[in-house]
């Protein structure tokens, strides 16, 4: 008896057990179920939710692997043990075994904690409610380690994941029912619960926290943090544009490489899993806001000593290269559950995400980043946007109604006559 038959017998035997959803969850990962159609269409398309989620996870893998190399690279670079990478994306000094090993052992625990804690919460809820395990957490579990700083303590991550999954998702009824993006809820929880940790300039490079105050202290500042300190002119000396585009800069684990995010985004658009409308309009939105800020600087409406000056004067399109903007636009804003659901709504929703992201990024006094706040904000407003888009369709239908050709029922008159005679 092969594995397939063994599992089938086991499945049939234990169908009424309380833990059945957990077994079923694992079983369906190994084998697509033998379920057949009963009502409605007798054949079904090839895609299911697992495939969809898996496609997103696949598009995140390059960012994850890059993040591992970058973690090591930033660490050794800050220590002064290696020189800055030269020679393009595949330049020497970056794709080294040392960099990878260090990053691998730093990031693997983040991934494991994210998945194990998150899935454990899901399993508990599935067993309590007796429903199937839905695949939403596959993507969330991969997103979370990519949007946190590398030196985040694992216990903080675990607490945040529990909070994010329970409050962000399960209380609304699980996958497909949530209002806020669970991964961003986790990120926001970390930000607001441990602000000194999350908004400091130390956590972004491995080792920076431990060495703080020591003679050989290393800095772990992100580009945005650097700018927020007012270092406008020095930026070019520290990082050039290629560094920012390729991702050789400090930041959350998976958000730094705009190049790989772009490739992941193109894959998602090509595979028709994520909405190109949201991505494109979010890029347009962020460029618009960046241009407005550049314009304000050019018009000299803001003095050079203003604390917003350096971020406002940051070249408008370079906002897309630093921080989590690109990552947020490609992988978070496009979440179909929490985003706008109508095609026209997606244009508005995406634009506002880009627009607000850059605005919050510039004006946020505590922490120079705004993508996750902008997306969460728009998550809340997405149903409102859809409401007005759908109203447009309803209005058209109502307008048509004015010219409706409605004939009275034939027997209506007959019945009226009958009642008269009675």
């Amino acid at each position: 008896m092969g594995l397939k038959e063994k599992l089938h017998t086991f499945r049939v035997k234990n169908q009424d057990k309380k833990w059945f959803p957990v077994f079923s969850g694992f079983h369906t990962f190994l084998f697509t179920p033998n379920e057949i159609t009963h009502h409605g269409t007798h054949v079904k398309g090839a895609d299911d939710l697992k495939r969809t989620m898996n496609t997103v996870v696949m598009s995140l893998i390059p960012c994850l692997i890059f993040g591992m190399f970058n973690t090591g690279y930033q660490h050794y670079l800050a220590l002064g043990e290696i020189d800055a990478v030269t020679g393009g994306f595949f330049g020497s000094g970056f794709w080294t075994w040392d960099n990878f090993i260090l990053g691998f052992w730093k990031i693997l625990p983040l991934v494991l904690v994210s998945y194990i804690v998150g899935l454990a919460v899901e399993f508990v809820f599935c067993v309590i409610k007796g429903h199937e395990i839905e695949e939403g957490y596959l993507v969330t579990g991969m997103l979370v380690p990519l949007i946190v700083p590398v030196d985040l303590p694992l216990w903080m991550l675990a607490v945040a994941v529990v909070f994010g999954v329970v409050i962000g998702k399960e209380v609304f009824g699980g996958t497909g029912m949530n209002i806020l993006n669970p991964a961003l809820t986790i990120r926001a929880f970390l930000f607001f619960a441990y602000p000194t940790w999350m908004s400091g300039d130390k956590v972004w490079v491995h080792g920076a926290v431990d060495s703080a105050g020591a003679a050989d202290a290393i800095s772990g500042e992100t580009v945005l943090g650097f700018l927020a300190q007012g270092n406008t002119t020095d930026l070019a000396q520290k990082y050039d544009l290629a560094d920012m585009f390729f991702g050789f800069i400090p930041g959350s684990v998976g958000e730094t490489s705009t190049l790989l995010i772009l490739l992941g985004g193109l894959f998602l658009v090509f595979s028709k899993i994520a909405s190109w409308r949201i991505m494109l309009s979010a890029v347009i939105g962020s460029l618009t806001m960046g241009l407005i800020f550049n314009g304000i600087v050019a018009a000299e409406w803001i003095p050079e000593y203003s604390k917003f000056y350096s971020l406002m004067s940051f070249e408008y399109w370079q906002h897309l290269l630093v921080g989590g903007l690109a990552f947020g636009i490609v992988f978070m804003a496009t979440d179909p559950v929490t985003g706008s659901q109508t095609n026209r709504g997606k244009w508005i929703y995406g634009f506002l995400i880009g627009f607000m992201s850059v605005m919050i990024r510039v004006f946020n006094p505590g922490y120079p980043e705004g993508v996750f706040l902008a997306i969460l904000l728009m998550n809340v407003f997405a149903p409102t946007i859809d409401h007005y888009v759908v109203r447009g369709n309803i209005k058209r239908r109502m307008k048509r109604l004015k010219n409706a050709t409605i004939y009275p029922k034939v027997s209506g008159e007959v019945e009226a006559l009958k009642t008269e005679t009675v």
């Binding site: 990962f29 697509t32 057949i36 409605g40 079904k44 969809t52 369709n393 050709t405």
Partner: protein, 466 residues
Amino acid sequence: MLNLPAIFHNTKVYNNMSKDIRIKKGLDINLVGAAEQTTSKAVLSNVYALNLDDFHGITPKMHIKQGAEVKAGEPLFYNKNKEEMQFVSPVSGELVEIVRGARRRILSLKILADKTQEFVQHKPLDLAGADAEAIKAFLLQSGAWPFVKQRPYDIIADPDATPKAIFVSGYTTAPLAAEADYILSGKEEQLQAAITTLGKLTPGKVHVSVGKSGNSPLTQLDGVTVHKISGPHPAGLVGTQINKIDPINKGEVIWTVSPQDLIIIGELMLTGKFNAERTVALAGSIIKAPKYYSTKIGAEISTFLYASGVNQDKYRLINGDVLTGSKTHPEGHLGFYNNTVTAIPEGDDYELFGWNKPVFNKVSTTRALTFSWLQPKKKYDLNTNTNGEHRAFVVTGQYEEVFPMDIYPLQLLKACMVKDLDEMEQLGLYEVAPEDFALTEFICISKQPHQQIIREGLDLLHQEIG
């Protein structure tokens, strides 16, 4: 890139006079086993049956008792809510069984056919002189009325209503469905009589749509407004055509008739006989020699199924096409409205890593390691596996790609699920039938039962608003 035409597309006012309609959104599901265009005469069935599920929402009241003799065209039962509406026997013979289900609900009526068929002979109506009421009375009494269906609600037409237009779709796009052009050829006389009859029932137009590149006898008829349609499924569905030609508003009524039923109506008008004969496509990858059969409504499917042969024992037999048909078995009977019988493989097997490995042998609208986009013309041998489990709605924007109506499909489905009558009305439930949601159901990543959701929504709306 901004896709402006798509944005303004919705606001476009459709010109009623337009003759050419091109549907862009949709999906052709090309399956193996299309019926070859030759017709054989099916072996005569011993037993014929009317399946009461075919008449949605009708409460039957029997005219005759089990064991009674009937002629072809003689009423078996009538609609409890509309006593004039008769449902007649397709053949002459003995009513051998009234199959009942829970609470004595009648499931089907079985008639053992006589060797020589006797017909009820109606006095043919003088079409030129008859008015709408006379025609309605004639159709109701002769048993042809149930062929006329109405929107809203996708039920048998209410004879008391006056439709603003009547629609007939002569364009076939459903997978493996009987080609209208083929089954109608040579029936011009009957078709004309039926169209003339229907034309008297509406002050509006009789819209007939045909394939743009087809060769339909419907184009030659008098008294019709012909529309040439092109594009993928669901371009051939009458609901799509109504939405593009003359959409239904609240309070309006549109009647629809399938083209193959026009033949029966037409023959009845010409000869006074209800002749239940029909050309049926037997198709699907299971069938050894897929082709057309001439048989009668209610005939046992085995009478022609085994003439073509099946190439395996375990298969799904469908009364209708793969998207909208109902499950049956060789001893089952041809449905009242069906002219297609499909047999496809059952898919009750597990598939190792079916959710992540590249897929070449299934149809998909995405490109998530699914490769049907590479070969749009390839014919597929799909089985009945669901290819995944039932989930909550997650993905957005995909239904819209295969749904050509000016309606938000996801929002309408959700309105039906939460039973929000106002939303259902405002979002366009009056305009749709379950079959219009078959394609969205086919591609649904969450494997939601769209057609069932819409059916329940329509029933609720009908019950509450009437």
